[in-house]
Amino acid sequence: MLAINNIEVVYDRVILVLKGVSIDVGEGAITTLLGANGAGKTTTLKAISGVLRGERGEVTKGTIQLADRRIDGMRAHEVTKLGLVQVFEGRRVFEHLTTEENLIAGGHVQKAGSAVKQGIELVYSYFPKLKERRHQLSGYLSGGEQQMLAIGRALMSKPKVVLLDEPSLGLAPMLVEEIFAIVGRLVKQEKLSVLLVEQNAAMALAVADHGYVMENGRIVLEGPADKLRNNSDIKEFYLGLNEGGARKSYHDTKHYKRRKRWLS
């Protein structure tokens, strides 16, 4: 559905952030992109959605294809019209608009007003809490509600591909599970393809079909999610488990190795 082929991203014309990244997002599946802070996950998403430009970033090499069309070099609002939408990290709702107005703004690419109304009803059916808060300023919603609104707002453009950037950020574990369950349903019922960026690797690998691991602007590991779950490096560094699968105790790790002294 979405194919990223060996892209390089340069900020300010000098800083090379992505060094040849290739990702395939399958149709109707959740693909997850894992990695530590600063690995380049968010930059990858921004390169795809086209908002990179406004931050003085540029895709200098490689191609990005949505279905059969090249979308690298397109402007963000054009990409959204083609059916790809990004849900930003940290919710980023339009704080001074009400919940419903956020959804109306999200449905901007719809030509017909009736399509916007239908979209709003669809979002409310997945996120009933939003309906209760429809006339409230979204800046005053709770974190979980804001995340639901951010996802709902993205759905308003009737996307085929959704880029989800850290939906679990700053939310209680119960809410995270609730939101991931809804995302799972959306993928099945609305036939969405999702590229999910997460730091919560356990959660992400549990819902995803396929996974990529990113370090320093490169993809270092790739595979089906269940295989990644059993990979020993992933277990140790991302899931915090030891070889046997038990939770790792940080008491046991040595903080330093005793240096061998040749003299004395």
Binding site: H77, F88, L97, I104, A105, G106, H108, G143, M156, S157
Partner: protein, 298 residues
């Protein structure tokens, strides 16, 4: 009603109608600031330009006023679009100061361009509304002030509806809230910037007609723009309702100052009273009465 009260009523009424006319111009400023975050120091000059276009068109013998109004509306919309495209778009993403300096430069250019093309004499802009004062209770108002107030109210109702109810208006507020996210939602941000400037052009065109008719059209007409600042600081830089209320307050304060203080100091309080109020407001509510606060969730 006693004579004192009647005097006060007349002052308040006249101040309110003038205030609404200030609001009309302030509306142009607010529309631009709300959507694009640009502070437009040339708002008064926009009004002057509009007035000059109207008198120039009326200068051709036999041109009816309706045609002149259509021409000025079209010209100011074009001016707004053009200005955004040529001057402001290249400055996108630059520091705020760059945009401010650019609008100050435009203001200076327009002020120079007026006398060069039209000469320095004040031209009259006659409207077919007569000179007969309109009596309201114990006071009376010149018809142009009543017309100006009505035009202002009509525009406020129209724009409030636009921003609350229309999809385009909601999109515009989304742009004002967060440009990057708006873009990712499929909103063409630059197009909305251009629309905001064009709307400022429309409002300025109407402002040019009513203010030009009241004061006469010359370079001095640009000075009404100075009143925009106390009005928008008082009401809130990005609030349409604030521009309305701010204009009313400034108009009334000005009128009361002129009525009650001028006899003691010999005149001039009208011009500085609004600024005293502005400074006081800045100390107490820096975002104005209706200005939007940073929303903080705790």
């Amino acid at each position: 009603m006693s004579e004192d009260l009647e005097f006060a009523f007349a002052l308040v009424l006249s101040g309110a109608s003038i205030g609404l006319m200030y609001s009309l111009i302030a509306l142009g400023f607010v529309l631009v600031y709300k959507a694009t975050d640009a502070i437009n120091f040339a708002q008064g000059e926009f009004v002057m330009l509009a007035g000059m276009i109207v008198v120039s068109v009326l200068g051709f013998a036999g041109v009816p006023l309706v045609v002149a109004i259509i021409v000025v509306l079209a010209a100011m919309i074009g001016f707004g679009f053009g200005l955004e495209r040529v001057v402001l778009r290249p400055l996108l993403g630059r520091p705020v100061v760059a945009v401010i300096m650019a609008t100050i430069g435009i203001a200076a250019m327009l002020r120079g361009l007026g006398p060069i093309t039209l000469g320095i004499e004040t031209r009259a802009l006659p409207l077919p509304i007569g000179d007969e004062p309109i009596v309201i209770g114990p006071a009376s108002l010149p018809p142009i002030q009543v017309l100006g107030a009505v035009v202002a109210v009509v525009f406020f109702v129209a724009f409030s509806w636009f921003f609350k109810k229309s999809r385009m208006g909601v999109a515009m507020r989304a742009v004002a809230d967060n440009q990057q996210v708006a873009q990712a939602m499929g909103i063409n941000v630059e197009r909305y910037f251009a629309i905001a400037w064009a709307m400022a052009g429309i409002v300025s065109a109407m402002g040019g007609i009513v203010w030009g008719s009241m004061l006469g059209v010359d370079v001095q007409l640009a000075l009404v723009g100075l009143k925009v600042f106390p009005v928008v600081i008082l009401g809130g830089l990005d609030s349409i309702g604030g521009a309305l209320v701010g204009g009313l307050i400034i108009g009334v304060v000005e009128s009361l100052a002129a009525g009650y203080l001028d006899p003691y100091v010999g005149g001039g309080t009208k011009d500085f009273a609004p600024y005293v109020l502005m400074i006081l407001v800045l100390m107490v509510r820096p975002y104005g009465i209706f200005g939007r606060r940073q929303i903080e969730r705790v």
